[in-house]
């Protein structure tokens, strides 16, 4: 690999290295990248006509546009040699060029299967230009991924988030544990959440919508991009979101004084939405409702940022916590029995609850009972 240029991207506070490497070297690196990030393994299967042509052209020695990778790292002070060593570890993300990468991998396999050693050798020796963004700023990387994604293979905002924050599955965030869907584990302790649900919640925050549609068209994602562009790029926003939400859950758990759903006290037509605070608020409906609510309040300048929200949490109170939670369970049960689509309806309800709870101009500001009652009335007025 040869480093040709090094520039600073002031917008996202990252270094940008332009490198040149052989296809053989890139393929070795790409396989490590795809192995480490399962979300980048998901290939969007579109019509392969364009990529079939690309394969033919590659065998003829065509030059493809630069691929763009990102290397999240804490220290921007780095020598070229250290950069090469970091790259070789393969802890990179492919920002632009995922489908071209798959095309190269497939072409390599086809040539090996055909035992076309001459073409394979020629392919391996070809040069590729690779841009590598180097820096901590995930939000900036997310922003750059979306703005770069004007290629033939659109990817949803949600998918980009999954790719970007996957390593939190391994490392966790503070005392918070994220659980992978495939493990068939369910969060059953405070501080545990499904990774997919946290991604959905964060997506809802960015989109200001508890029901974000997975849009593939970059132009339709523009609203999300505009929101992102206004965020503080030096902050790990996903981490802020999770930490803030978890703090809310812990606060509500404290307030609940060990509340557990009691079927003797409250008759429902089916199982309760959650039998305790952890079970209620670990669910995707609550997280997406929270994300959307905070995003909307931020747009209306009723809160500054997640730190602001955390500051408010200490002051949350309830007239009678058991009554509030019973009321919440009862209303969620009614929604279940009257909705054409239960999940979206419950998300809308939670969004209204959190908007009431954190709206300093509202009557139910920091009052859990009031927020639930008013939130339900607002939900009913919308259906």
């Amino acid at each position: 690999m040869e480093i040709l240029s090094k520039l600073m991207d002031q917008r996202i506070n990252s270094l940008n290295f332009l490198t040149e490497m052989s296809v053989e070297e890139y393929l070795s690196l790409a396989k490590k990248i795809l192995e480490k990030n399962e979300y980048q393994r998901k290939r969007v299967k579109k019509s392969n006509t364009v990529y079939a042509l690309l394969k033919i052209d590659l065998v003829k020695g065509c030059l493809i546009p630069p691929l763009v990778l990102a290397l999240p790292h804490t220290n921007l002070e780095i020598t070229n040699e250290k950069l090469k060593a970091e790259i070789q570890k393969g802890n990179l993300l492919i920002l632009d060029g995922l489908q071209r990468t798959y095309t190269l991998i497939e072409l390599e396999k086809e040539l090996k299967d055909k035992q076309d050693t001459d073409s394979l050798k020629k392919l391996y020796q070809q040069k590729l230009r690779i841009e590598i963004y180097f820096g901590i700023n995930r939000l900036g990387i997310l922003y750059r991924m979306l703005t770069l994604n004007t290629g033939q293979t659109p990817v949803t905002l949600r998918h980009q988030i999954e790719i970007l924050y996957l390593d939190y599955l391994i490392s966790g965030i503070d005392n918070i544990k994220l659980i992978r869907e495939a493990e068939d584990e369910t969060p059953d302790k405070l501080g545990e959440y499904k990774f997919d649900d946290t991604v959905a919640g964060f997506n809802s925050y960015i989109e200001r919508d508890e029901l974000p549609i997975d849009r593939l068209d970059i132009l339709e994602n523009i609203q999300g991009l505009e929101k992102l562009s206004k965020e503080d790029q030096n902050v790990d926003l996903f981490k802020e979101f999770i930490v803030t939400y978890n703090k809310l859950v812990l606060k509500l758990n404290d307030l609940s004084e060990g509340w557990i759903f009691d079927k003797e006290q409250l008759t429902l037509d089916g199982p309760p939405f959650g039998a305790n605070v952890q079970k209620i608020f670990a669910r995707s409906q609550a997280m997406t409702g929270f994300g959307a609510a905070i995003g909307i309040l931020k747009d209306r300048k009723l809160i500054e940022n997640f730190e602001d929200v955390r500051g408010l949490m200490e002051k949350i109170g309830a007239d009678n916590v058991s009554d509030a939670l019973n009321s919440l369970i009862k209303k969620l049960d009614e929604i279940k029995h009257t909705s054409t689509k239960i999940g979206p309806a419950q998300r809308i309800f939670f969004q209204y609850i959190f908007r009431e709870l954190f709206n300093k101009e509202g009557d139910s500001f920091l009052n859990l009972n009031g927020a639930i009652e008013k939130g339900y009335r607002r939900y009913q007025s919308q259906i």
Binding site: K45, S47, D214, G270, P271, K336, S339, T340, G343, Q346
Partner: protein, 389 residues
């Protein structure tokens, strides 16, 4: 001829498969496999260039033979996700199958998402829908949609909103002589289920309540006990058309009333024939008092007595709600104990003879009158009998 056959085959193939749109073109897709890791059904087009992934969010319980089930599509564009019912047969006291919205297959938020019995049926239904292995009771429209290809496409994107799954266990229905699901459509219609899709059809608010209240019909939250229409009426084309098409699409309340009243006309005509035949069967000209005979015949001809017979002898039909609405419509004393047959006949006469003089209050009552009249008609169709009469 050959070209026509090719075109017909292509059309048939599209109809028998799901399809997706990509870059302006439509591609029929066919089930390839189920990915246990990603929990997705994978479908591909003929050339294996288009891959569609349909997620399955419920636990896959795959231990039932799908060939033992028939799947029918019904529609209810205000269906509730949690309305998942076992379907029982009222006359034979048998479980026939399940009735639930397609939404229940793409969500784990309802009460049955952990129920093993439902999960088995759900797996069968999902696979059948993915393969378009369903029966449509009214084939005048295609219940499928063609969505744009996405990273994942939900099964509900491929079917009209409001699609209801009726899945029947073949061994069960084979024990019922002359079983036809269409005979149960009027009963299911009263709960908002119909064989045709109409996105603008409004369901009366009381229909939703029927599922919550413990009504006189054994229709509790977890099961529906369906009853077919009377055997004597199963060949009546008008009745089938009424519940599959006419009532689905006719919005004007006066016309809806006329359509429903046609059932009354049909049945009192049947009653006339039945009574007339009886009179003549018992006739003994030698001993017959011809004046009495004439009187019996005249009586058999009169409409109102036949209406009374319909409501009181040939069926046992009551509806206090409809009776009170008719009294209001006719501007009669609300404490009157006038019977329902006479009242419904009077409403009909007002609409036929005095339509030009109806006021806005009367018009405003028509939707509620029709709602209860529908229930009465359905009850009449189910319970009509000529036995022991």
């Amino acid at each position: 001829m050959l070209l026509k056959k090719v075109i017909d085959d292509i059309r048939a193939r599209f109809k028998m498969s799901l399809s997706v749109k990509e870059n302006g073109a439509e591609y029929p897709i066919f089930l390839e496999s189920y990915n246990q890791i990603t929990k997705e059904f994978v479908l591909k087009d003929d050339n294996r260039k288009i891959e569609v992934r349909i997620p399955y969010v419920l636990k896959l319980k795959d231990d039932v033979n799908p060939n033992e089930f028939s799947l029918y599509l019904l529609f209810n564009n205000e269906s509730i996700e949690n309305h998942i019912f076992q379907l029982n047969e009222g006359n034979y006291k048998k479980r026939l199958g399940w009735l639930f919205p397609l939404q229940a297959l793409v969500s784990s938020n309802h009460d049955y998402s952990e129920n093993t019995h439902f999960l088995r049926i759900a797996a069968v239904a999902f696979k059948k829908l993915v393969k378009c292995d369903y029966n449509q009771l009214d084939t005048q429209f295609d219940p499928k949609n063609i969505p744009d290809l996405q990273e994942q496409n939900g099964l509900n994107e491929f079917y009209q909103a409001g699609t209801i799954i009726l899945i029947l266990h073949k061994p069960a229905i084979q024990t019922i002589s002359d079983f036809e699901i269409t005979d149960y459509l009027p009963f299911l219609y009263r709960f908002g289920y119909s064989s045709m899709y109409n996105p603008s059809k409004k369901i009366h608010p009381n229909v939703k309540l029927e599922f919550i209240m413990d009504s006189q019909e054994p229709c509790i939250k977890k099961s529906i006990t369906a009853r077919p229409i009377s055997k004597l009426l199963r060949e009546e084309f008008f009745i089938k058309k009424l519940f599959s098409q006419s009532l689905n699409f006719e919005e004007h309340p006066i016309v809806r009333f006329y359509l429903l009243y046609q059932v009354i006309e049909l049945l009192i005509d049947k009653i006339f024939h039945h009574r007339f035949k009886k009179i003549f069967a018992q006739l003994n000209l030698e001993n017959e008092n011809l004046w009495e005979l004439q009187s019996k015949i005249q009586e058999a001809l009169k409409e109102l007595p036949r209406l009374n017979h319909l409501f009181n002898k040939y069926t046992k039909t009551r509806s206090e709600e409809l009776r009170e609405l008719c009294l209001k419509f006719l501007n009669m004393d609300p404490t009157s104990n006038q019977g329902l047959p006479k009242l419904i006949y009077s409403v009909r006469s007002e609409l036929v003879h005095n339509y030009r003089q109806l006021n806005s209050k009367q018009f405003s009552l028509m939707n509620d009158i029709n709602y209860y009249f529908e229930l009465v008609i359905i009850n009449v169709l189910i319970s009509y009998t000529e036995e022991s009469l």
